[in-house]
C-alpha cells in the first residue's frame, strides 16, 4: 500500500489538526501578532461575521511585516491572504495533501458545513500520522542513533 492510498482512506477530521488564532477583520497586525504569540500559534485566521475571509501565517510575518515600515499598526487585512483555500472535515487526507502541494501552501484551514473552522491542516499532521501509524519504525527509535546499542538485549 502506498502512502497516498493509505491517506486516501483517512479523513482530514481524523488527523491531528493544528490550532490557530482567530481574529475579526480589521484587527491590527500588532494585536494579531500578540495573540499568536500568547496562544503559541503560527497561523492566524481572519473572520468576518463568522466566515473565513483571510489567513495570515508566520511566512507572511517574515515577508510582509518584520522588515516593512508602517504595517504593524495597520489592519491585518492589508497583509493577509484573502479568501484562502480550505477543505471540509470529510475531505480525504490525501486530497488535502494534494491541495497543499498544488498551491504551495502549508496551512489548510478545515471548515465544517456550518462555516466553523475546526482546525488547520499542516504537514505536521501527516508527520504525526506517520509516527502513530508506524510506531515501531518512527516513534520507538533511540533519541540519538549514535548511541544505539550494538547488542539488542531485552533491557
Amino acid at each position: 500500500m502506498s502512502l497516498e492510498s493509505e491517506l486516501r482512506s483517512e479523513r482530514v477530521s481524523h488527523l491531528r489538526l493544528s490550532g490557530f488564532t482567530a481574529v475579526p477583520a480589521g484587527t491590527s497586525v500588532r494585536d494579531a501578532l500578540g495573540r499568536m504569540r500568547s496562544e503559541r500559534n503560527t497561523v492566524c485566521l481572519i473572520t468576518k461575521e463568522r466566515s473565513l475571509t483571510g489567513i495570515f501565517t508566520e511566512r507572511d510575518v517574515l515577508r510582509k511585516v518584520v522588515d516593512v515600515a508602517d504595517v504593524l499598526d495597520g489592519p491585518i487585512d492589508a497583509v493577509m491572504t484573502a479568501d484562502p483555500i480550505s477543505v471540509g472535515p470529510d475531505a480525504s487526507a490525501a486530497s488535502a495533501l494534494g491541495l497543499m502541494d498544488k498551491h504551495h501552501i502549508r496551512n489548510l484551514p478545515v471548515v465544517d458545513a456550518s462555516g466553523q473552522v475546526v482546525g488547520s491542516m499542516t504537514h505536521m499532521a501527516v508527520i504525526e500520522w506517520l509516527a502513530a501509524h508506524y510506531p515501531v519504525e518512527v516513534l520507538n527509535r533511540p533519541y540519538d542513533p549514535e548511541r544505539f546499542p550494538r547488542k539488542a538485549e531485552g533491557g
Binding site: 508527520i127 501509524h133 519504525e137 520507538n140 546499542p149 531485552g154
Partner: protein
C-alpha cells in the same frame, strides 16, 4: 536583550536526556514512553535536582538511567517502597516510580497495593507489555489466558490481573491509562498525573516488539484505533468511534455499546472522574468486548501519607517533647557482634559477556511482513530527500541582514555557524514571529545570536528517513540541519521534503 531572553528559557526536553546508551530493543514501546516523559518534565516547572525516578527490575525498570535526574534502579518489585521512604524523608521531592507488569504485579504486587492505599505523593507508571521482557519472554500476571510463552508452552491457565481494577481496589486516588503508540494522549495523561497530589497510577500499554509484538495491534493501528478506544474526558459523554457515532449506556449493571443513530445522547453515560462506582465500571471494561477506556478514570483528593505522618509527629512532639533516637536505640536487648575471620572470596572474576543464543533465536524469528512505506522509512536515508544547501550566517550577523537573506532565498530557516564553521544555532521564521516582530525596534543593531535556538538537534551521518520523522514528530520541528563528523552543516531538510518525497516515491 539576551538577558531577558535567558530568563524566559526554563528547562527543555533536552535537559532530561541523559548521556547513557539506551539498551532497549529497536522498536520497543519504552522509547516512546521515555520520549513523552522527557517532554512533560519541563512543564512541571520543578528543578531537576528535585526529581527522582525509582524503578525495580525489568526492561522498563532501566528507565532511570535514561533520565537526567536523580534515579534509583532498586530492588525487584520494591520501587514503591523505596519511594515511600523518600517521600516521607523529603516531602519536597517530585517522585516517579517506573515499574513493569512483572515487577509491579508479580514480585512487587503487595508493595504496589500498599503504596496506593497510603496515597504517598508519587507518580507510578506501570509499563504493561503483558510479558516478562528482560528475562526473555515468560508469562506475566497480565498475560491473557491461553497465552503461549517460554514459561507456558501450552498456554497460561491463570486469569490475568487487571491493573486498573487492582489500583481502584487499593483505593488509588488517581488512576489513568494510556498507550505508547499515541504520544499526544500519553503526554496529556502524564501531565495530569504529574499535577495530582497523592499517588497517581498510570498504566501504559507498551509494545514488546521482541517477545509479545502483537499484543496491542488493535489499539495501536492508527486507522482503526478510534473504533476500539474510549477516550475519557471528565464531564463529557462516553462517546467513541472515528466519527463519534457510538456511545456507552447502562443496561442494568452492565455497560453496553450503542450506536448514536439509535439511542439519544441523554442515555449515554457521562464521565465523572470523582465517581467510584463509575471508575469500577470503566476499569472492568476490557477490550475487545468493549472499547478500551483511555485517559483519567479516577481523580479524587485525599490527604497524603507524608502529610498525615508529619501531623502525627507534630502532635506527639507537642505532647511528649522531642524524642531522643539514641536513647531509643540503646533501650535494651543490645549485644555486640564481633568480626569473624573470613576466607578470601573466590567470586572475584568477570562476568561472561557473550551474545545470548536464546536472544538470537528471537531476532531470527520469521520476519514480519512490512509495507512499502515501512521499507521506505527504514531503508532509505535522508540524503535521498535531496537536502537543500544550508544558508549560513555567523552569530554576529544583524537581524535585518538575516531577514533579508531569508526573503531573498525564500527560505524559512537560517543556519548559524561559529568561527570554525560548525553548527551553533538555527534561526527560523517561527523565531521571527515569536521573538522579533514588533518586539525588536532596531533590527540592524540586534545580533541573530541572541534570537536563535542555540545548539539545535541535527542529523549526523545520513540516518534513515524514519529518524528524521522521529525527531520532527517528537519536537514539532519543521527543519532539521544535517551535519558532518565535525559538526559542520551540510544541508537542511524540512518536513515538507519528507512528505513530498514519500508521496512521490510511493505514488
Amino acid at each position: 536583550m539576551s538577558e531577558t531572553l535567558t530568563n524566559e528559557i526554563t528547562l527543555t526536553r533536552k535537559d532530561f536526556v541523559s548521556d547513557q546508551t539506551v539498551r532497549w530493543c529497536p522498536g520497543c514501546g519504552d522509547y516512546s514512553i521515555l520520549a513523552q516523559v522527557q517532554r512533560v518534565m519541563p512543564e512541571l516547572g520543578v528543578e531537576k535536582e528535585k526529581i527522582v525516578f525509582i524503578s525495580g527490575i525489568g526492561c522498563s525498570s532501566r528507565f532511570p538511567y535514561y533520565m537526567d535526574t536523580y534515579g534509583i534502579h532498586s530492588i525487584h518489585g520494591r520501587a514503591p517502597t523505596l519511594a515511600t521512604g523518600l517521600a516521607i524523608a523529603n516531602p519536597d521531592l517530585n517522585i516517579w516510580v517506573v515499574t513493569g507488569d512483572g515487577d509491579g504485579l508479580s514480585i512487587g504486587g503487595n508493595h504496589l497495593i500498599h503504596a496506593l492505599r497510603r496515597n504517598v505523593n508519587m507518580k507510578i507508571i506501570l509499563f504493561n507489555n503483558r510479558i516478562y521482557g528482560l528475562t526473555k519472554g515468560q508469562a506475566s500476571p497480565t498475560s491473557r489466558v491461553g497465552k503461549v510463552t517460554k514459561s507456558t508452552p501450552m498456554g497460561t491457565i491463570e486469569s490475568p490481573v487487571n491493573p486498573i481494577s487492582l489500583a481502584l481496589a487499593a483505593e488509588a486516588t488517581f488512576v489513568a491509562r494510556s498507550i505508547d503508540s499515541n504520544p499526544q494522549h500519553l503526554a496529556e495523561v502524564l501531565s495530569k498525573a504529574a499535577a495530582h497530589k497523592g499517588t497517581a497510577f498510570v498504566e501504559v500499554y507498551q509494545n514488546c516488539v521482541i517477545f509479545n509484538p502483537d499484543e496491542w495491534n488493535a489499539l495501536s493501528d492508527r486507522t482503526n484505533r478510534d473504533e476500539v478506544t474510549l477516550n475519557l474526558e471528565h464531564g463529557m459523554p462516553l462517546i467513541f468511534g472515528k466519527d463519534k457515532d457510538k456511545g456507552i449506556r447502562m443496561r442494568g449493571f452492565t455497560p453496553e455499546v450503542v450506536s448514536l443513530a439509535d439511542v439519544s445522547l441523554d442515555e449515554i453515560l457521562v464521565h465523572d472522574a470523582t465517581s467510584k462506582p463509575l471508575a469500577s465500571i470503566l476499569g472492568s471494561m476490557e477490550n475487545p468486548e468493549y472499547p478500551a477506556p483511555m485517559g483519567v478514570i479516577r481523580d479524587v483528593r485525599k490527604p497524603t501519607y507524608a502529610a498525615g505522618i508529619m501531623e502525627q509527629i507534630a502532635q506527639a512532639k507537642a505532647k511528649r517533647g522531642v524524642g531522643d533516637l539514641n536513647k531509643l536505640y540503646r533501650n535494651d536487648d543490645l549485644w555486640t557482634v564481633s568480626a569473624r575471620e573470613e576466607n578470601q572470596s573466590e567470586m572475584a572474576g568477570e562476568l561472561p559477556l557473550t551474545l545470548d543464543e536464546e536472544y538470537l533465536d528471537e531476532l531470527g524469528r520469521a520476519a514480519v511482513e512490512t509495507t512499502p512505506v515501512q521499507d521506505q522509512l527504514t531503508e532509505e536515508n535522508v540524503s535521498a530527500l535531496n537536502p537543500k544547501v544550508p544558508i549560513t550566517v555567523d552569530a554576529g550577523s544583524s537581524l535585518s541582514r538575516a531577514i533579508r537573506q531569508m526573503n531573498r532565498h525564500n527560505i524559512g530557516c537560517l543556519i548559524v555557524t561559529d568561527e570554525e564553521d560548525r553548527l551553533s544555532g538555527i534561526f527560523t521564521e517561527r523565531d521571527v514571529l515569536m521573538r522579533v516582530t514588533g518586539l525588536v525596534d532596531d533590527l540592524a543593531h540586534a545580533a541573530i545570536g541572541d534570537y536563535m535556538t542555540p545548539n539545535p538537534i541535527a542529523l549526523k551521518a545520513d540516518p534513515p528517513i524514519a529518524q528524521a520523522l522521529h525527531l520532527m514528530s517528537l519536537h514539532g520541528f519543521r527543519h532539521l540541519p544535517l551535519v558532518d563528523e565535525e559538526n559542520r552543516p551540510t544541508g537542511v531538510i524540512s518536513f515538507r521534503d519528507v512528505v513530498e518525497y514519500l508521496n512521490r516515491s510511493l505514488a
